[in-house]
Symmetry: none
Subunit: 252 residues, 2 copies
């Protein structure tokens, strides 16, 4: 069933194992249950150390959660990846035990030449668009618009995004997930429409986060998120020795 690993030294065993596990996760091979370390050592005929190295990478990338005594379970929840500032906001909220959900405002195909340019596509290219109002508990926290190349994102058409993270669906159905990219953050005065959606008062400001996600060198995601500035802000701790990494969190 599983191809044996190449031991000529062309590539490390754990990297091959990791790649094969990613492939099989996307294929849905482990939908019922993810194998234990021992099972993987036997199936691939490698040491447990090698298994742990490979599975550890999957864990750090947020594809798995491992727990002593319980085993490894594939992460399907509303968990974007540990990537950039946007993720940290939603992770922080999750960590505080507030349930997140979304109201899907739009889901389907559109054409937008500006976005197409960001994604490196020709003008007029079909785009998959997902527009959501995101809630922390019952309180609206952000308006989130994401565009992906329609060709790539076609399998997402039937997904329910009210409780599912875009990246998890992308990984599960399209076999890819942004692995690099950049974000750009500006302060804005929200539009009337945004103010209405977010229940913002007059005279308040918001963050506008623009985000480009790349996979295998190609742009696959353009996202614009408007985040309430009265409830959320960026934090950074810094010291002379360590670089400051900002995170987004509630103002308390």
């Amino acid at each position: 069933m599983t191809a044996p690993l190449d031991r000529t030294g062309s590539q490390s065993l754990w990297a091959q194992l990791e790649a094969d596990l990613r492939r099989r996760i996307e294929l849905g091979d482990f939908d019922r249950r993810f194998p234990t370390d021992l099972e993987l050592t036997e199936e691939y005929e490698v040491s447990r150390h090698t298994v742990r190295e490979a599975v550890g990478h999957l864990q750090r990338d947020g594809l798995l959660k491992r727990q002593r005594g319980r085993g490894s379970v594939i992460e399907r929840g509303e968990f974007d990846q540990r990537l950039g500032a946007l993720y940290s906001l939603f992770a922080e909220i999750e960590a505080q035990g507030v349930e997140q959900c979304s109201e899907v405002l739009f889901l389907g195909e559109t054409v937008d030449d500006e976005v197409a340019a960001q994604l490196g596509l020709d003008a007029g290219s079909a785009l998959f668009k997902l527009e959501r109002l995101r809630f922390a508990g019952t309180e609206p926290l952000a308006v989130d618009r994401a565009w992906l190349p329609a060709e790539l994102a076609a399998p997402l058409a039937g997904s329910d995004f009210s409780h599912t993270a875009l990246y998890n669906e992308l990984a599960a159905r399209c076999g890819c997930r942004p692995d690099r990219g950049w974000e750009r953050i500006t302060p804005v005065v929200p539009t009337d429409e945004e103010r209405a959606l977010l229940a913002l008062e007059d005279g308040t400001a918001a963050f506008r986060v623009e985000r480009l996600g790349q996979y295998d060198g190609a742009a696959i995601e353009w996202r614009v998120t408007i985040i309430r500035g009265d409830r959320y802000r960026f934090f950074a701790d810094w010291s002379a020795a360590t670089p400051a990494s900002l995170r987004l969190g509630p103002t308390h």
Copy 2:
């Protein structure tokens, strides 16, 4: 020199080692050279595997770079990242060859109980206050207000801050410079006064950066900076492997 690790099982050895290495990095212990794996195994009397676990975390957090044959070298990054976002803005502007200067709006002693509380001082304590309008070339970019304990900052009274950085004067005259602290960033609609100072149009937003600077564990600086949001914003590049670190720069 280095405290031995606790082997009662209260915490994993690698976590203790990681913490100690972080501490020593901050202290500057390894400024000349970071130890090799072998040296760490001998110094801390743990196995190489344990060393790799600890140092691997530092590497993933971007504090170190490890290379075969070469060793581990501390990642000092760009100078801009080391002192938070505010510093990075001014460094970025400097790097682009734009001359910076400031118009001093206020320089002297004041009393402000809110600020005193931030600095951990008693209400009514005398504070040194510096308020500046900062320019990049001829264009105003930020309103910058800084408070320091008057006792500490007394030697700054006669300085000319129109062309001098606060930290350089602080280091030169007071013998200290913030080595740790935190920042908090919110989007705001500027006040009429701020809008006038920054030549901002109606309906534009700005960043409000609050900053607490510490030296030797004590708060020595409280700063509130209003930065034009139409000309400057935050950027972050991220990848699945390294955490995103944000920097502030012009919109171009």
